[in-house]
């Protein structure tokens, strides 16, 4: 049974990306935000993302109209019930109490046996599901930013997620053009678990004065055909995000190999958060373009 209507809660960066991706496949999206203002902001953001893609010839004005026509905003959660959505994705802030609250509320008023998808990169599906009536219907989907352009989605099974829920999530992922991989809940899943220590290691190489920031990036980019160097990637992700990640892995797994690099900690304390704050490992102009050959002042070699 193809999915025709999707309920989506939360129109932040990830929510916008998911809304655009789903709507582009001809599926109607009912997007719930907390206020009219936040909702307008989310829709505007989606339109801007599409405009950027049109400027790169990747889409047309016609595509934009079609996508926006399929994204229906609302500030009422129970609207999703009235619209008879086929599944619900929650993409509210990455905080367990908020996610639990939203999902428990839906769990209460939704009579149908629909699939609950939680979009999370870090949280435990098992923990989010703890107080749900229908634990077996909750599954995690870890979309990666930017959602419309990243072909991968990690489908994360909690302890009580049913096989049927997994099959449905897998089919949905394929329907919206993503390649799913099956992950059994564990800190960091696949993507973060592998990339985060790698990025942390690049910070160590920088801190220990082994090479300049540019050369570290150049070496990894050209040496292994990566599209982007690790330090530039850290700036894009946000140094604070990376630090949170390292701390979380360190806490959860207790292994020294997840110890955050001290330079990372220092830069975060100094407010050097990456592209979003104009400076991280490199510095950026007001349009977010890297100012070439200019590592930030805290890095001296």
């Amino acid at each position: 049974m193809p999915i025709k209507r999707v309920g989506l809660i939360g129109g932040g960066t990830m929510g916008r990306g998911i809304a655009q991706t789903v709507a582009a496949k001809g599926i109607d999206v009912y997007l719930v935000e907390i206020s009219q203002e936040a909702l307008d902001q989310a829709i505007k953001g989606i339109a801007q993302n599409i405009d950027a893609e049109i400027a790169k010839w990747g889409m047309t004005e016609g595509d934009k109209r079609a996508i926006l026509a399929r994204i229906h905003g609302t500030i009422k959660l129970d609207e999703l019930k009235r619209r008879k959505v086929d599944l619900i994705i929650e993409s509210v802030p990455e905080e367990i109490s908020i996610k639990k609250k939203v999902l428990e509320e839906i769990d209460k008023f939704f009579a149908q046996d629909i699939l609950f998808i939680t979009n999370t990169a870090t949280l435990s599906i098992t923990e989010i599901a703890a107080d749900l009536k229908r634990k077996e219907r909750l599954i995690g989907m870890h979309f990666l930013n930017p959602v419309p352009k990243t072909a991968l989605v990690e489908i994360v099974r909690g302890l009580s997620t049913s096989d049927r829920a997994f099959e449905e999530a897998k089919n949905f992922a394929q329907e919206i053009g993503k390649t799913p991989v099956e992950v059994f809940e564990y800190p960091g899943y696949i993507t973060s678990r592998v990339i985060v220590p790698f990025l942390n290691e690049a910070m160590y190489v920088l801190m220990e004065g082994v090479a300049s920031a540019e050369d570290i990036d150049t070496a990894m980019r050209l040496g292994f055909n990566f599209g982007i160097g690790p330090l530039t990637l850290i700036d894009q992700i946000g140094l604070d995000e990376l630090l949170l990640w390292m701390e979380s892995l360190f806490r959860e797994l207790g292994d020294l190999k997840y110890r955050p690099c001290p330079l990372l900690r220092k830069l975060v304390r100094a407010g050097y958060l990456g592209k979003k704050s104009g400076k991280g490992i490199f510095t950026y102009d007001e349009h977010g373009h890297k100012i070439q050959d200019k590592p930030s002042v805290l890095i001296k070699h």
């Binding site: 193809p2 025709k4 209507r5 001809g26 599926i27 109607d28 893609e53 790169k56 010839w57 990747g58 889409m59 047309t60 399929r70 352009k149």
Partner: protein
């Protein structure tokens, strides 16, 4: 015979129910937004009756079910029972190298059409869905596939090979296929009739200018070359497609702008052509109007488009060793005297002279528009692909060979 003609796209089904004895459409219509909210069915009947219905239509099977229900309905219908439909003719975009004519759909034929999915990933899967749905709903009606590529399958090898490593041809059958075959075939036959000469003894150039645009060189009854190639992007300037470009340009732009494959694909297919040059519209009518108002880029778009057609007329005349008839067809070809005039201007030396008065009169009608003393004749012939599909279907079902 009553023949249902189906053209199934990703989320649409176009259909006609044609009486092949009278050669007229009893009803024609389209189902749109299949699988989405607000799916609709529009139909117009031969007597002018119109129907527009919005409802839940989840897939191609439901779409065709709805079409059958409308065709049989008391108020808007044209038949009483679905058994009155004697056969179904399907437009299938890509027949690869396997089909040089229309064919009765058997299990083996379906397998080959499926094998061609790699060549037409955007079209063949939906054509297949349509065939499967029609087979389920009309199990007693024979089904026939009519391919866009079939008419061009007799091209000589030197016309269809690209000068790329031969291994690519062996591995992926990278070659020129050409499209719009049904239209080129139909109008070239009518042209022979209008000339009163045998089809097998003429050198014909057909210019199909619609949403997509292509030309064919038809010599002694066979298409010996055509402007669309491995995909419908090659050849003429179209509404939003580039047509011929230096292939290295796209590599250069992909590097400069860091484009992904998908972006490069949309660039060539959706942001180029008349729309790309003019920045105003992909619709030739608007381009002509704006050019008339003095818009320079609209004029440029028109110039580039018609110059390309002219080059192909010259090339195909050379390929055939002369020219007897030039035919314009499809939306722009049937309706735009300006485009026809610009494309033929300066070809008088080749024996091609357009009569400006006749040219202006020929709108959506079958008509000769060349001067008396023009060595090669110029014709305007409205195309009718559905009729060709219906005729082929009839001929195959009756066991007579289609032309």
């Amino acid at each position: 015979m009553k023949i249902m003609v189906l053209n199934c796209g990703s989320s649409s089904v176009k259909y006609q129910l044609i009486d092949s004895d009278q050669e007229n459409a009893l009803a024609k219509g389209v189902v749109e937004r299949i699988g989405m909210s607000g799916a609709s069915l529009k139909q117009s009947r031969f007597d002018g009756d119109k129907l527009h219905y919005v409802g839940e239509i989840l897939d191609h099977t439901m779409a065709i079910e709805n079409v059958l229900a409308v065709l049989m309905s008391r108020n808007h219908g044209v038949i009483k029972d679905k058994n009155e439909i004697d056969a179904v003719g399907h437009r299938v975009v890509h027949g690869g190298e396997k089909f040089e004519a229309s064919v009765l759909i058997t299990r083996e034929v379906m397998d080959i059409i499926k094998d061609c999915i790699d060549l037409a990933p955007l079209h063949n899967p939906h054509n297949i869905k349509g065939i499967q749905a029609a087979q389920r709903l009309l199990p007693d009606a024979p089904q026939v596939a009519v391919f866009d590529t079939a008419f061009h399958q007799n091209m000589p090898q030197h016309a269809y090979m690209y000068a790329l490593p031969y291994s690519l041809y062996r591995k992926y059958t990278i070659r020129r296929y050409g499209f719009h075959g049904t239209s080129h075939r139909y109008v070239s036959h009518i042209a022979a009739e209008m000339m009163g000469k045998p089809y097998s003894k003429l050198r014909i150039i057909t210019v199909h200018l619609g949403n997509g645009c292509s030309m064919a060189a038809i010599k002694d009854g066979y298409s010996i070359d055509t402007s669309m190639g491995f995909t419908p992007v090659e050849g003429l300037v179209m509404g939003t497609r580039s047509g011929d470009i230096d292939p290295a340009i796209i590599l250069h732009i992909m590097g400069q702008e860091e484009l992904t494959l998908a972006q490069a694909n949309t660039l060539l297919n959706k942001h180029s052509g008349l729309w790309g040059i003019s920045g105003i519209s992909s619709d030739a009518r608007e381009i002509i109007e704006e050019a008339g108002n003095g818009n320079k880029r609209a004029q440029l778009a028109l110039d580039v488009m018609t110059y390309r057609i002219k080059k192909y007329i010259g090339a195909y005349t050379a390929a055939m060793g002369g020219l007897d008839v030039l035919v314009f067809t499809a939306g722009i070809g049937e309706n735009s005297p300006v485009v026809r005039e610009m494309a033929c201007k300066g070809l008088e030396l080749m024996g091609l002279k357009i009569d400006p008065v006749k040219n202006k009169q020929a709108i959506k009608t079958r008509m000769e528009i060349s001067k008396e003393d023009s060595k090669a004749k110029v014709l305007v012939i409205p195309t009718n692909e559905e009729l060709v599909i219906a005729r082929d279907t009839r001929d195959i079902v009756l066991g007579t060979k289609p032309d």
